[in-house]
Amino acid sequence: MADLSINLAGIKSPNPFWLASAPPTNSGYQVQRAFEAGWGGAVWKTLGEPILNVSSRFAAISFNGQRVMGFNNIELITDRPLEENLKEIYETKKRFPDRAVVASLMVEPKREKWHEIVKRVEDVGVDGLELNFGCPHGMAERGMGSASGQVPELVERQTYWVKEVARTPVIVKLTPNITDITATAEAAAQGGADAISLINTINSLMGVDLDTWNTIPHVAGKGAHGGYCGPAVKPIALNMVAECARHPRIRIPISGIGGISNWRDAVEFMLMGATGVQVCTAVMHHGFRIIEDMIEGLNHYLDEKGIASVMDIVGKSVSKYSDWGDLDLNYKVVARIHRERCIQCNKCYISCEDASHQCIERCIDENRKEYLKVREEDCVGCNLCSIVCPVDGAIEMIEVPSEHPPMTWNERQAALGRLSGCSVDIKSL
């Protein structure tokens, strides 16, 4: 059994799986049930001035019969009184001293407001703070959440205010609703944040009802944009985590969030630089019990790889994530179709014919049987055929030796630059 415990900027938990600040962490009852099930930590549903919620708040996208591929909400922060939450945080921490209990906070962008709430939650014994600069709806219209989170100076300043009084580690939760998330991540680091967490939800409109023409969801016939999360957002979140992880000026730990549904997703986030992960939608879909497979699956994975501690995988893929200009232009793969596995749906053929490089041929063998063959010299190795192929292993992407040594775009440009020393017109090359 590997050691699954993590230490994220000084916040320790027995495993890397935390509940994200969201409905599953709304109350002591829920968080304690989660801890009983095995969750390593929980970020409490965001605390702040009590708010009012609307009725009908969620919507989800099914994809080909699978439910909740993506999830959307227009819920705000906690609607329960602060005192009640604080009392339950205290009780929960007392019952589960080894688990990480982090308070998520959101107040008006005023120094004294931040000071006040930080002191109050730290007094009940939280292990850390998470500043919610991410919520994209409702609170943002009041200048909080992602309205703060989209402006690097506001992120930096508010983080700084919190750090003035905080005694526990401070995590800044970032909004993905911004062109370059590293700008706000860096601002958080500048402000003194001990860690960042990302992503919060993405601005979204789930759909429009074809009969009523109402938005989905709607509140008395009116809709407003919500926040998107769940399995569908994972690739977006993973990229943002990776971008922060490889950024030279963001040198603080990352708590990965967004579409994590099982142990495999968690491993991917950790390899891409997250020290731990947070989960919301998967728990909303299935309940706290999913933690059993997450822990066991991660354990088996590490054992199989002979890795003693989960902390040893953190960031192991970050150096493999780079800029386009650093990719080897001379590396080449081509598709190969394994005839014996092919079921002849011709999906690859039509994709290649209509949407790629027309290099799959429909052939007939000596027994008048149809088969498909890739003209390898024309194949650009785009992967499209292997993506649409419904049979595992029928199309394999094979590395073919290149006649040229590796050369990236950047290297190529540099080489050309050197040539330009001899005043050659680069454009015409």
């Binding site: 699978q66 099982n262 019990r289 497979d293 066991e296 088996h300």
Partner: protein
């Protein structure tokens, strides 16, 4: 028929799921909470959890979840009447079609078998010893749980290998022997000693066990097929169904039945297995004679369908009166009589009665008896246990017998008239007997402490 054809006939009929089939099926599972399938499984396997683990790629964890609840879960994946159990309870019966739970269970356990996984470890030794008499599903299951609880367990098994009917009694084309033997090895890997070729009551005395062990599990199942009680039973060409099947699982297949006309007497799973076995051994024609009707037949529906597909014929309301042989003592005919159903019996089934003057004579070469199994009365009495016609009496919660030191489980406590015995039930009883012993022995400790 050449040997290789015969051998092919005895290969497992049902193919396992491919990776993709398993993935698609696993993702179709709704992952219900407090799922009805769990309650419908006698061993209470956490079915949604093991299926979710297949979907997440944690197949080892999936196999563990299965085998934790059911120490013979790989065999059960193949022989459970799933449509009456887990799959019958699947909520998707109401909307689309039930999840193939048995096949997913097989997928996960096959993976564990292929990867030579050892799934469990023994608990810290508690210094107590238990003797398990009989290494079938019930005995193995109790041994596994006892070993996990820290007991030092010795299984006494009369046969050459443990596994009971899973190893010797259920036809290979439904349950290959290596599956059962893998389960036996899982139990050995917990440090359980298995003394094979050791028949209790013959090779080792009952008293010795009672004296040398802190508790005893009696899990000897049932015995051979009883006599039909009609003339001609000792003729050459009359077989005991279980013996016949055992032969196909232990010896090279013979061409003895090639081209022969076979009748099987009985209509339980044993009869079906003997009939399909005969077909696969090359018999020209196989008939099952049953003195009641299809409605009273105890064989599972899937077994019945399977036999029909194999070309087995059914003669309902037909009972044998006498087996006729030639001068060399070889079977040539069976004389049968037509039956009709009379009053309802104590066991709730209508009693079959012969129809006067309806006798008919069937030319046959082979008669296979499959009318149930005998009871180990002698052994049960040697243990001095209360029983009802060889069915050992137990406390239904603790599985304790009239001798407080002895616990019984599996077919040895299976009551007549309760349909068909099941591997999965024997496995569950084995677990519960283990917990019964644990309770009994720890209570004894706390009382003396």
């Amino acid at each position: 028929m050449e040997q290789s054809r015969l051998e092919k006939n005895f290969e497992e009929v049902e193919p396992g799921l491919t990776d993709r089939e398993a993935m698609e099926e696993a993702n179709r599972c709704l992952y219900c909470y407090d799922a009805p399938c769990i309650r419908a499984c006698p061993t209470g396997i956490d079915i949604p959890a093991f299926i979710k683990k297949i979907a997440s790629g944690n197949v080892k964890g999936s196999a563990k979840s299965i085998m934790l609840s059911n120490p013979v879960g790989a065999s059960c994946a193949r022989v459970c009447p799933t449509e009456e159990l887990c799959e019958g309870a699947c909520v998707l019966n109401h909307s689309t079609k039930p999840i193939m739970i048995g096949k997913l269970q097989r997928y996960a356990t096959d993976w564990a078998i292929r990867n030579k996984e050892v799934l469990f470890q023994a608990g810290r030794k508690n210094g107590k010893t238990v003797a398990v008499v009989g290494g079938g599903p019930a005995g193995l299951s109790s041994a596994r749980e006892l070993a996990r609880l820290g007991y030092e367990v010795t299984i006494f098994e009369a046969e050459n290998e443990a596994g009971g009917l899973n190893t010797y009694g259920i036809v290979s084309f439904r349950l290959p022997q290596n599956i059962s033997l893998w389960e036996v090895n899982q139990i050995k890997s917990l440090g359980v000693q298995i003394r094979t070729n050791t028949r209790v009551g013959k090779d080792i005395e009952v008293n010795e066990l009672l004296e040398c062990y802190d508790a005893v599990v009696l899990a000897v199942g049932m015995g051979k097929v009883p006599k039909l009680g009609i003339p001609g039973e000792d003729l050459d060409g009359v077989y005991d169904a279980i013996e016949l099947i055992k032969e196909t699982k232990t010896k090279p297949l013979t061409d003895r039945l090639v081209g022969k006309r076979v009748v099987v007497i009985g209509a339980g799973n044993t009869a079906i297995d003997a009939a399909t076995c005969s077909v696969r051994l090359g018999a020209e024609n196989v008939k099952i004679l049953y003195r009641r009707t299809k409605e009273e037949m105890t064989a599972y529906e899937f077994e019945y369908e399977f036999a029909k597909q194999d070309g087995v014929e059914f003669r309902w309301l037909t009972a044998p009166k006498r087996i006729i042989g030639d001068s060399k003592g070889k079977v040539t005919h069976v004389e049968c009589v037509r039956m009709e159903l009379g009053e309802t019996d104590a066991d709730g089934r209508r009693r079959p009665l012969p129809v006067e003057g309806s006798e008919l004579i069937m030319p046959v070469d082979v008669v296979i008896k499959a009318i149930g199994q005998e009871r180990h009365i002698e052994l049960i009495e040697a243990f001095g246990l209360e029983h009802d016609h060889g069915v050992v009496k137990v406390n239904p919660e603790t599985y304790q017998t009239s001798n407080p030191k002895v616990f019984a489980c599996g077919d040895v406590i299976f009551e007549r008239g309760k349909g068909e015995a099941m591997v999965v039930v024997a496995a569950q009883q084995g677990k519960e007997a283990a917990y019964g012993i644990h309770q009994y022995l720890t209570k004894a400790v706390s009382e003396t402490a």
